[in-house]
Amino acid sequence: MRTIRYRDAVREAMIEEMKRDETVFLMGEEVGHYQGAYKVSEGMLELFGDKRVIDTPIAEAGFAGIGVGAAMVGLRPIIEFMTWNFSAVAFDQILNNAAKMYQMSGGQLNVPIVFRGPNGAARQVAAQHSHAMEQFYSQVPGLWVCSPSTPRDAKGLLKTAIRENNPVVFLEGETLYGVKGEVPDESEDEIIPFGKARIAREGQHATIVTFGRAYYESFKAADILAKDGVECEIVDPRTLRPLDHETIIESVKKTNRCVVAHEHWPYGGPGAEIVDRIQREAFDYLDAPVLRVSGRAVPMPYAHPLEERVLMRAEDIVTAVKRVLYRE
């Protein structure tokens, strides 16, 4: 085990897979000469040359589509969106081409592609640059969706994503790139399977289901609550599609109470989906309704103090957990 940053974990996964497989390449805005807008691809141009690390003009629909086309005939593209916000202009390519090609062609053409990049609010980048896009992709059949919270998950899941034969939406945390964490030694080639949630912290009083930036707020909340003698179990689904509800439900059956904490807007999305599955599969075990903690349903404001009021925070999770414990 070594301790590395999230952004390095993402890079390591790409480098290892590109070394392993000549058909893998990285394409996106500023990924090469600029070394990545968030330095995720730093050094990769030098390592692989501009045949495999490709700077693009600003044309997300175009280069996402080029990725899909190349994948249809055997390459394994990694398409970086400078941020996931910009995938909105490439939405049609992901929804209609990447996700549907295998089915539409009667199984002739699969699309082994990874769309990746930073997701969610950064800091003060305002309304158009602060989307948590899992709410727009997790529902789409034909896609898988990863939302790694830790460096280890980021690396292991990205390696899996690159080897997968279907399109993967890979949501990195824009605010998580600097987070440090333990990752297996480079010799280990750890892949983390899709559809396996991780119990990140054990506890018996309440379950917190969480991922992405909210994962760290959940830990803070669990620490605060632990001081009050409330032990939270934190479950990170890691992949939002497929969603491992079995692990979540097992935990809820033990704790009988649950809070789902996420960055995306409150309406629908993975948050509501998780609640739906819990109430369906663990109905008789619930001692309180499942509550959610989410980002607020507003376009992200620029002003820092206002942004702080819109993002979800540990205190909100504490409030919610207390509420499911009827301890308010």
Partner: protein, 344 residues
């Protein structure tokens, strides 16, 4: 027009065009009988493009087109059986009945569909060309679209990227003068679409689609250009569709006279006349026709007799299989769509 006609080639092209024509006339009939559903966009009148285009290619090359795809599929070698069965939604169809008229695919013949969203498929053509270049292969990818598609962003981005990276792609606009019910003077600010080529620094050409040889020769030049590494090309081919936009379109936006006038340039008729001019007698022509007819009738019968994919088979075709180690439980993950009531 080429002064010396290769009669064997002409016979082949004529048969292909006639086959496409008859295939589509029969599919229109089957549509009226309720055996085909959804949207059905006929290619009737434009056949010289698909056939001339296919004739300009080598087996290294690929083709991608729109929902108006039967002609291209057949010209590239898809069997009439696979095509008709697809229209009937049967499992013997080229896309197992999942795609239907708009989504024909035939990887073996390098036909990569059949796409329903205007403009979105052109980036796929650039992507295939990207792969050819990446692998150092000799092929070229053709990307067809209608003139109505040239205003959408997808067109622009596909061409921009292909141009900047000098990808071996040839973009071919089949200008049939109408985008659904809208004539081109209400969709295009310029009459000549190839005026857009200069903005991409692209090779371009513009010509009519009546003579299949002309189509072949001019496209061959563009394909050679792309193949030689000089970058993509933008080709506009002037044509006309004799039927409505799709089966549900009564075509009230143009007069019967206009359509009749254009039918005089019918490329199938032109080819047949050329064969006659080259001393192919009526008997031989009739034999070709009968042969194509037989193929179409056989395709209809085969489609009629084929079965549908089962529900379970359909569910298996949402995600391609992958190595098992990539999943906690691949079967469960792929069965994600399996439940209607309260399912994941």
């Amino acid at each position: 027009m080429a002064s010396k006609v290769n009669v064997d080639e002409l016979k082949r092209y004529y048969r292909q065009m006639w086959l496409i024509r008859r295939f589509e006339e029969e599919s229109a009939r089957a549509y009226a009988q309720g055996k085909i559903g959804g949207f059905l966009h006929l290619y009737i009148g434009q056949e010289a493009i698909a056939v001339g285009g296919a004739a300009a290619l080598t087996p290294d090359d690929y083709v991608i087109t729109t929902y108006r795809d039967h002609g291209h599929a057949l010209a590239l070698g898809m069997s009439s059986r696979a095509a008709m069965a697809e229209l009937f939604g049967k499992k013997t169809g080229c896309s197992k009945g999942l795609g239907g008229s708009m989504h024909m695919f035939d990887l073996e013949h390098h036909f990569l569909g059949g796409h329903g969203i205007v403009g979105g498929h052109l980036a796929l053509a650039s992507g295939v060309a990207f792969k050819l270049k990446y692998n150092g292969e000799k092929g070229v990818c053709l990307g067809y679209c209608g003139e109505g598609a040239t205003n959408i962003g997808g067109f622009h981005e596909a061409l921009s990227l292909a141009a900047i990276w000098k990808l071996p792609a040839v973009f071919i606009v089949e200008n049939n003068e109408y985008s659904m019910g809208t004539p081109l003077d209400r969709t295009l600010p310029v009459r000549d679409i190839t005026t857009r080529a200069a903005g991409y620094g692209m090779y371009s050409d513009r010509f009519e689609a009546n003579d299949v040889f002309e189509v072949r020769e001019k496209l061959k030049k563009a394909v050679d250009h792309a193949r030689s590494g000089k970058g993509p090309a933008l080709i506009e081919i002037l044509t006309y569709r004799f039927r409505g936009h799709s089966m549900s379109d009564p075509g009230k936006y143009r007069t019967p006279e206009e359509v009749e006038l254009r039918k005089k340039k019918d490329p199938v008729r032109v080819a047949r006349q050329l064969l006659t001019d080259n001393k192919i007698d009526a008997k031989e022509l009739d034999a070709i026709d009968a042969d194509a007819e037989q193929e179409v009738q056989d395709a209809v019968q085969h489609a009629d007799e084929s079965g549908y994919l089962s529900e379970e088979e359909m569910m298996e075709l949402v995600y391609a299989p992958s190595p098992d180690e990539l999943f906690a439980d691949q079967k469960k993950a792929r069965a994600i769509g399996g439940n209607i009531v309260g399912g994941p």
